[in-house]
Amino acid sequence: MKNAKWIVLLSCLITVALLACCFIFPFSRTVEAGGTNLITVEFNDSFDRAVVENAMREAGATDVLVLKQVSRTGNTSFEEGTSAQIYFSVPDGTEAKEVYDKAEEILSQTFAFKYPGTLSTLSASLTKQSVISLWPVLIVLVVLLAYAALRFGIRTGVIAAALTLMTGIAVLGVTAIARIGLSHYTIAALLGTAALSELFVFLFAFTKRDFAKRTAGNVTEAAAKRVTVFAVLLSCMAIVGLVSVLILGNAALKGFALTALIGTVFSACAAVFTLPALASLLSKAN
């Protein structure tokens, strides 16, 4: 394959750059996985949760969770109250009080407050929850890499590891740059795209083995071409689906779709460009 080493070098550079971005740009804080501030507000009348959320975001909050107090009036019925608990995260270096005061100013144009509330900051340590959720996934990914290496040889294992790492780092790097908060949606997206990357490598390995049985030509290139067809089609399908979610979905789903979209694009690029280049380089080295 022409320019194989340049493609691999470029892929490595992009991966390293995005890895650096993970450290340079701090991940956007979310209520789920970052420093959280809490304020309990009492309005004079009922309020719209979405309006409060939008006001908080407009004021500079990176993530907001508004809980409306309800009281049970029957087995399946509730009466909505007038008080809200607002959990919100702010960017590093920004005072939570500043953000809330600004939001209060915006909100006071729509709602009257009975009790504006006092602000309290909850512990700001990054939750271990996201990491805890990830461990079975990480184990599965490692087992898959080991299987790829045992079944198809160490080179396939190396390719699978490289592609999975590249996709994972790319997703995290762009997530950091784009200020998409880390949450369980991000983890779901990361999981899906890492699995997609490994799927492409397995497809490549199976196709290559199949071609090797029947032809004497350059099976690496032929298998890579076949995988390109799959990668382009499957990625197009995923992109169309994710763009629909991005256009029509709510804020939480948009974060999920955007992360998955980034992952899909990177896993497709890795399958189309990096995979054949790396396979070709490793074949030559052998």
Partner: protein
């Protein structure tokens, strides 16, 4: 033969159209016989992050006079205990997430049935057995607590408290003829008036009787004490609260996304593989409908964000398997085989390869299903999708293509096949 295949094709198309309409909401509100079709997403068991949800936030703080207290460790411990209690209650699709270092966010799917759950969560589970003013047993003496259930003979509900070895002997000394009664309390409230036994209990099991009207108290004792003691102060954030309908359209949006994905695949299949692609497209549609029914009926699958990601990946895997099967048929035809032989040999040749390829996501799916915790829905969806991919790509495409051949469409060019490709 030709007429029979024509009838087969018509029946197949009608069945696919009917099931497709049914699965994706075209029959919503229509009544056939006694069956009234539901809104398309009404049949799914949606996760708390996709459907409507009920949220409560529990804040963990140091107990009074606790001195040097690790709130973060206590929160993590409380979260584990919450999960145990919710599991014991059989609550489904609940999301329990640690928020910061000192809060736990519990999300329950649907908008009802939460205050009962809350009762089981906000109790620390402090268990005490006393005799007069003497404290006899506490949580550290308890090995496990099991709900025995209702006994028709006595008309009472029983809970067994299994004590550990150190406490067994003390229990034996406190029971038997002429011994006094023991008081049982949980979180400072007496839950069963007295416990006494005229026989010496040597096996370390205290069988506590409750009247049937106190069934919930018995269950609470069994679940809260068995799951462990939350040695901290738990504050539920001003009662139960709801997040409203922020994710109300999520199911519709995910449905539209899935249809858009399938549409892209169908367009590619027909454009690139012609009649063979049409066979694969019909097979793909059947698989997606089957996936929809799998999602709706498979008891363990709750469609949350991870489940939706798994279902989307399943559609990609099903498409991949279909295209791999088509390539195998094309390869056989290119080698000089007849259309029917290429179909048969192609499918047979690709069988082992596809089964091995699809076994990987299926095994991963089972692994994540069992040990995946928060992402187990992803595993279940992946497992179901892989099985459907194998079944449809290896069985359906060939049969549908043969129906086309049977009705006289036997020109290889119409199937997009070329010699020496």
């Amino acid at each position: 033969m030709k007429i029979r295949d024509m009838i087969r094709l018509i029946v197949l198309v009608l069945v696919v159209v009917f099931l497709g309409l049914w699965a994706f909401g075209g029959l919503e509100g229509v009544t056939i016989g006694t069956t009234r079709f539901l809104r398309w997403d009404g049949i799914f068991r949606k996760g708390a992050d996709i459907g409507s949800k009920y949220t409560a936030i529990y804040t963990i703080s140091a107990p009074e006079d606790a001195g040097n207290f690790d709130v973060s460790a206590a929160t993590l411990n409380a979260k584990r205990i919450f999960e145990k209690r919710l599991n014991a209650l059989g609550a489904e699709g609940v999301l329990v997430r640690q928020m910061n270092g000192n809060a736990i966010r519990v999300e329950l799917p649907g908008a009802t049935g939460s205050s009962e759950v809350d009762e089981f969560l906000h109790n620390p589970g402090l268990f005490k057995v006393t005799q007069g003013d003497d404290l006899i047993f506490t949580n550290k003496d308890v090995k496990s607590v099991k709900m025995v259930g209702y006994d028709a003979t006595s008309g009472q509900v029983y809970v067994d408290v299994h004590l550990n070895n150190d406490a067994k002997e003390r229990l034996a000394n406190l029971t038997g003829p002429g011994t006094g009664s023991l008081s049982i309390s949980m979180d400072g409230t007496e839950v069963s008036a007295t416990y006494s036994s005229s026989e010496t209990i040597k096996n370390g099991v205290m069988r506590l009787p409750f009247s049937t009207s106190n069934y919930t108290k018995a269950l609470m004792l069994a679940i809260c004490v068995d799951s462990g003691l939350i040695d901290a102060t738990i504050t539920v954030s001003d009662g139960m609260q709801t997040e409203g309908s922020a994710s109300g359209n999520a199911a519709d949006v995910l449905g539209i996304a899935a249809l858009a994905m399938v549409l892209v695949a169908v367009v590619y299949l027909i454009a690139a593989h012609k009649l063979l692609g049409v066979s694969a497209a019909i097979s793909l549609l059947i698989s997606v409908i089957a996936l929809d029914f799998f999602g709706a009926t498979f008891t363990w699958l709750r469609v949350n964000a991870c489940g939706a990601a798994g279902l989307a990946l399943s559609i990609l895997i099903i498409t991949m398997a279909h295209i791999a099967a088509l390539f195998a048929v094309r390869q056989q035809f290119a080698l000089g085989k007849s259309l029917t032989a290429a179909l048969d040999d192609g499918m047979t040749g690709v069988r082992a390869q596809l089964l091995e390829l699809l076994a990987i996501p299926a095994v991963i799916g089972i692994g994540l299903w069992i040990a995946g915790g928060d992402v187990s829905a992803f595993g279940i969806a992946l497992f179901g999708g892989s099985l459907l991919a194998a079944a449809s790509s290896l069985l359906l495409i060939r049969h549908i293509a043969k129906i086309f051949i049977g009705i006289g469409l036997s020109d290889a060019a119409a199937y997009g096949l070329k010699r020496g490709e």
